[in-house]
Amino acid sequence: MPKKLPGSKDIPAAGVTWKSATEYKTGDWRNKRPVRDKEKCTRCLICWIFCPDAAISWDGKDIHFNLDFCKGCGICAEECPVNCIEMEEE
């Protein structure tokens, strides 16, 4: 949990969301991170399809893990047909 968060007087009442969900980084829930062997990876994009948090992006040439939102579930590693993703302890 970040040290400096707004107090009860500085957030809207009733638990109303006051910013976009993209500003609420959930990546710190992760205790394992995906690490990819770029040599082995065939860019088949199966991990991109399966990621439940849309934390894997494709720029037309390669994939990227967005660690601000990856919660470390390991589905990408499980589904990778060439086993190029390892889940490493944070």
Partner: protein, 408 residues
């Protein structure tokens, strides 16, 4: 000067239905359950006759009833519902939710004993089990108060400083189904008193935004909040409940000016407490019987009094301590069944409130009148006599909390 009122012979449930009619409710979602049924039936009749413009949502359960109310309230509607016992228990999840997202829904609770054994009669166990849900809670003594408190509830709950749901309790059958003379306001006077619901204003990025589902100012109501923000929202809720304290008295005074009827300070109604040797503390219709007995005992020269607790949440602990600190013996009577606890919810609140006082009365707890069992004047007389005996002998009984009106 008070306004002209109309005397009607109606029962407690009908009184509540008339109050909801007079409150210009936008949405009513409710599911019938004994002994609340007449409220819903009567209100449905108003809707069918075109006497109100309310959208009546016929739901399949109480969980859905309150959920529909939450949705309607979030859209800015003034909402009303009513339930009892098992219905309240089924909607329990949503009861917490409604208050935590600050929806000022008004709910009448026709107090009925919980199952089992299955029972349909009066008892406060279920409503008192809602005491931690963050709602304002008002207990009514008679059908007149049921009408009065329901109309007041809209003003209290929707007050800009408060914005919390309110439940008003009326004892099953004793109030819900018993014909009484009830004074109703004229529709125009009632409308003037309740006004229209204004949505709560919240601040987002320094700008005021209504807490309302409105495409012009999109917000998310009821999102996930974890360990990082949950507690701050709870603190806000607590502060809103504290801000309700002066509002309840203010609305009670306004009501007194309008109708001539005043319920103490809105929280507590003492009767001959000042010089009393023994005082009974109780809620709801029991207060009426106890007052009758206290009056008779006074006529016989016995110094007894009564303290009716009308508002249970926020609990008036400071006011109560002030009133009871110098009373030698206090008895707390509640129509509640709690096992494994040192006294019921009212007993523990009263006892805790008095702990900070330098002088403290001896306090005895009485459970009774469960499942609709009659609590007669004789029963209250017996309680008063026991309290007076504690005063004269200076000895409290070994069992400080016990059952009355029960066969052993």
């Amino acid at each position: 000067m008070t306004v002209k009122q109309h005397l009607m012979g109606i029962n407690g449930d009908e009184a509540v239905a008339y109050a909801a009619k007079h409150a210009l409710v936008d949405v009513c979602a409710a599911y019938p359950i004994t002994p609340q049924t007449i409220i819903v039936e009567k209100f449905a009749e108003f809707v069918a006759n075109g006497e109100v413009e309310t959208e009546f949502v016929r739901v399949e359960s109480e969980h859905s009833a309150l959920s529909a109310c939450v949705g309607a309230a979030a859209a800015g509607a003034r909402t009303f519902t009513a339930s009892a016992a098992n219905g309240i228990e089924l909607m329990h999840e949503v009861i917490f939710l409604a208050s935590s997202i600050r929806m000022p829904i008004i709910m009448a609770v026709a107090d009925r004993a919980p199952s089992g054994p299955i029972n349909i009669h009066g008892d406060s166990t279920v409503s008192l089990a809602q005491r931690d849900t963050g709602w304002i809670m008002i207990y009514c003594e008679n059908s007149q108060e049921a009408y009065d408190a329901t109309l007041q509830a809209f003003r209290i709950g929707e007050h800009p400083d408060v914005q919390l749901p309110v439940m008003t309790m009326l004892d099953g059958f004793v109030l819900t189904h018993t014909l009484e003379n009830v004074y109703l306001l004229g529709e125009k006077d009632a409308h003037k008193f309740v006004g229209r619901r204004e949505p709560m204003m919240i601040e987002i990025d320094g700008k005021p935004v209504p807490l309302k589902l409105d495409p012009k100012t999109p917000i998310t109501i009821g999102p996930l909040q974890l360990f990082d923000y949950y507690m701050e929202t709870k603190l806000q809720h607590s502060e809103a409940m504290e801000r309700a304290r002066p509002v309840i008295t203010q609305i009670n005074n306004e009501w007194a000016q309008l109708t001539g009827r005043k319920y103490g300070d809105g929280y507590l109604q003492p009767f001959k407490v000042k010089d009393a040797d023994a005082v009974l503390v109780t809620t709801g219709s029991s207060a009426g019987t106890a007052r009758y007995v206290a009056r008779q005992l006074r006529a016989q020269g016995k110094k007894v009094g009564l303290l009716k607790v009308r508002t249970f949440r926020p609990f008036p602990y400071k006011k109560l301590a002030k009133i009871l600190a110098d009373v030698p013996v206090v008895g707390v009577f509640e129509r509640t069944h709690i096992t494994g606890s040192f006294g019921g919810p009212l007993f523990t609140e009263v006892r805790s409130a008095l702990y900070e006082q330098n002088t403290r009365p001896a306090i005895l707890g009485y459970y009774g009148g469960l499942g609709g069992r009659d609590v007669t004047p004789d029963d209250f007389e017996a309680m008063y006599k026991e309290l007076l005996k504690v005063k004269t002998t200076g000895k409290a009984p070994r069992d400080l909390v016990k059952y009355v009106t029960v066969r052993k």
